[in-house]
């Protein structure tokens, strides 16, 4: 399933690019991400807790994350919930584009494959959840900017 | 735990996760009760629990503790068929037979609650018991016939 989102940020693109380069900081903004550990190189492991309708998933797994100074972040990885029997594999790309002197936007494209029980849930529900997660991420990211 | 199934006392050590349908089918060998949709929609697993019809595929065995359970095997009185069973036979209320136990239990509970149901009553009551073979017409005819015989 392909997801595309654009997040507006009232900060210059350089600052956003700088933020995207700090992977633990970015991860902290993803709703439901917990216990992120750097494994060395570009490898990270961690857990993602997602509540989807009546069901809570706890997906643990690894990801390879790279970010460039020009404001592009690429992540590729996957997670599994062993108890429920569900999994996610995703390739995500986020790119900063300047909009004006103090405005920019982050364009996020994600190609996500679901397996097990997750694959049995309806697309509209999953899309809606993804939208909500991106909204929360955007809010967290904006908050992270105002803090720094 | 104790319960009564088709008039017989039953004592069982059902683990908490056991469903009523599995207690009936696997432990007690009452395979007349069928599992089809597994989510409480189709009605093939219908049994009476203290006189009310329930989906045995959604009920924990533990919920039947101390209860009186009636399955399709308990409808006939020894060799004498229940009038609803006779009516299904005569009117063609069954074909492949997989939904039939649930249909019969549901129809029996309808006639217990309402001995003279209108066609509309019967259609509403029986709408929880799916049948792919008969298109329902002969099931409804059977219910009407049994009701007239009994009324």
């Amino acid at each position: 399933m392909i997801f595309e989102h654009t997040i507006a940020v009232d900060a210059p693109s350089e600052a956003v690019a700088h933020f995207l380069a700090d992977i633990p900081k970015v991860a902290a903004c993803v709703p439901g991400v917990e216990d992120v550990t750097a494994l060395g190189g570009d490898e990270y492991e961690g857990r993602l807790r997602v509540r989807l309708g009546p069901v809570s998933f706890s997906l643990t797994g690894q990801a390879e994350v790279q970010s460039d100074a020009d404001g592009t972040l690429r992540a590729r990885g996957g997670g599994r919930d062993r108890r429920i029997g569900a999994g996610v594999d995703a390739t995500i790309e986020a790119r900063v584009e300047p909009l004006g002197p103090g405005d920019s936007e982050v364009r996020v494209t994600a190609d996500v494959q679901f397996s097990g029980r997750l694959a049995e849930l309806g697309q509209p529900l999953i899309r809606r959840k993804a939208d909500a997660m991106v909204r929360d991420f955007a809010r967290n990211m904006r908050a992270a900017f105002s803090d720094s | 735990m104790r319960l009564t199934v088709n008039g017989q006392p039953v004592e069982t050590n059902a683990p908490p996760g056991q469903l009523l349908i599995d207690l009936l089918r696997a432990d007690l060998g009452l395979t007349g009760t069928k599992e089809a949709c597994s989510v409480g929609v189709c009605g093939a697993c219908t049994v009476l629990l203290d006189g009310r019809m329930v989906a045995s595929c959604l009920a924990l065995a533990a919920q039947a503790e101390g209860a009186d359970v009636v399955t399709v095997e308990g409808l006939a009185d020894d060799e004498r068929l229940d009038p609803i069973q006779e009516a299904f036979l005569e009117r063609g209320g069954l074909q492949c037979g997989i939904c039939t136990p649930g249909q019969l239990v549901a129809a029996r509970s309808l006639l217990n609650a309402n001995p003279a149901p209108s066609e509309d009553d019967a259609k509403r009551w029986m709408m929880g018991n799916l049948c792919r073979c008969t298109g329902y017409y002969q099931i409804l005819e059977a219910i009407a016939a049994a009701s007239q015989g009994e009324a």
């Binding site: 494959q113 | 709408m127 792919r132």
Partner: protein
Amino acid sequence: MADYVEIGMPTPRVDGVAKVTGAARYVADQPIPGALSGALVHSTRSHARIVEIDTAEARALPGVHAVITGEDVGHYLYGRMIKDIPVLARGVVRYSGERVAAVAAETEEIARHAADLIEVTYEELPAVLDLDAALAPDAPVLHPDLNSYPGMRPLDEPSNAYRWTVDNRGDLDAGFAEADIIVEGVYETQRHHQAYLEPHASVVSFEDGRAHVWTNTKAPQNIRDDLAATVGISRDEIVLHHSHIGGDFGGKGTPMDLAVCYFLAQAAGRPVRMVADYIEEFMAGMPRHSTRTRLRTGVMRDGTIRAHHVQFFVNSGAYAGYKPAGVIGGAPRAAGPYHIPNTRIEAVHVYTNIVPGGHMRAPGSPQAVFALESHLDEVAGRLGMDPFEFRMRNLIDDGEETAWGQHFEHVRVKETLEAAADAAGYAEPRAPLVGRGIAIGDHGSGGGIGNAEVALEPGGRVVLGTAIFDQGSGTHTTLQQVVAEELRAPLHRIELQVWDTDGTVDDSGIGGSRASRVNTNVAYQAAQDARRKLVQLVAERLGEPEAAITLDGDEIRVEGREEVLRWPELLVEWEERVVGRAYIEDREPVRVTGFVAQVAEVEVDPETGELRVLGLTTAHDVGRVLNPVGHQGQINGGVVQGLGYALMEELAIEDGRVTTLSFGDYKIPTSFDIPELRTVLLESEDGVGPYAIKGIGETPNVPVAAAIANAVADAVGVRIADLPLTSEKVYRALADEASRSSRADAPESTE
């Protein structure tokens, strides 16, 4: 007309008492001591290379006895004609839902949990999820090795369109050239599940050096042979035992998970039981195919059809093997029982990366008839003719050939249509927002191989032996009636004995309305054979010529003797039994068909698009009816299945994946949703077999969708050309129509 005692009598089912008391055992009910439970891993990708299957965690789970993948199941592919289905995917998956690995464990819960622990790593391949994608010139080819598949007609170059047939009659171009009006249309149908309420189930147990098998199939001999070929053993090493079958509608004719079950039992060294759940049924069953039909019809102003071009595209899904012939029929039905001199009928079967289609009740016909009968109303509309008049002008008479070039005997299609129209009050005035629509279909009785045995036992028991597993349609009961009729013995004395597959080598089982043609005939012959042998025995024992002996029920009279003998007692006295047997192999093409004409009356709520079927009239050209109760039951069930197809049922597919995964989402009609149904039977002496009968299992579901679509058009003037006819589609069509006409009205004020 013959004077029958049992034939034509309303007869309760022979298996009825077992079924109403819960005693009847289905596959899932078979008590198999020590049986493990099997569970499957299904693909979550539509098209992907399997990089790795990690089964370590599943194997390590306590209670797991076997884990198998495509590597463990030999190299055979299976399929009913075209053998293209792997038992478990090897190297590549071709649809989301495909079987990838399997587990056998002590309990169903452990097996399912172990299946969840199996980790499959995929490398995504480009997928073709619909006809357009699959037919695109640069489309990835799903089966590059298709020419190596047994049963496949080789192609010059591998293509997703694995079969493209063209049949020409007359001169199509000339026909169009002379036509006054040419009308074109495209009609689409959805994937439709048989929705029998008993999911697929299999049990395999090895004993005495043979595989003992239980599975819900209506063609046991074929399934035994398919299993043998798929697992690489001889068919003598398998015995398939009888179980009751919980519905079929075309869906219970392939081994499905039986071979997986076999390999699991072999790997575990224990019996294994696999019972599918309904998620698996919807995700990875073998539903009715979705189709796209393009029709182009040339007519004269007087309403006669001169030319008709059919292009019937069948979305086969990932495999062809679930279809008995590798392809489905249907395309000719998009030309119909009409007198059309110039036709071209193309049928195209296309592989796509979605759940493979299989057989369902009159395979191909509901799709084709929806297209044709919708289209004919469009043509009639263009001519300004009533759809009834237009059909009557073009339908064939007895002796004429159909638009696809077939000669049927005793054609009574016009009478059938007239009967339906009369009974429905077709011509009567309609209330506002109420419409009536008509549609016509037919389906002949297929041939095949049948066996029967009739044993006369001392004391008077009659044992009817059959290889048929009655999937619910009532064949066992009609066989019982036939034997009772021929022996003039009461029904209750005819005991049914259903053989396991050791009972006979070859038998086609149930399917294709074969029961009417083959099975009643073979039972009749076996009963006649028993009579003949009884007469021989009596003659021999009494030292009389056979010609001197007459049999009337149980009574035997010998010419010149006063006394009346009775065979039940004679056989006791002589300690003899008499066994009649018959075998039929009838491969003749269909000569007789059963026509059906239906009239639907609907009311449309223009604000919501909701349509209510107020009434349905179904008229059938039936020959003789063997059992009115069972016969009417087939009609009722078929019509309601057609209603579900017309209005609501659809295997929804998103991104290649079936998303209607329960009866909560895939809705079939309930008792509350059925319309008032009128049935008209046109009985006659013009059927097949000893009693002149016609099949009834398939036709009633064929024209329903078209009749309703035509009624909607009649009620509110919009044509819904894709099934199902949901309220939303009607609503949108009405909204489009309204905006079109308001645009058409608008310009005046601007000028």
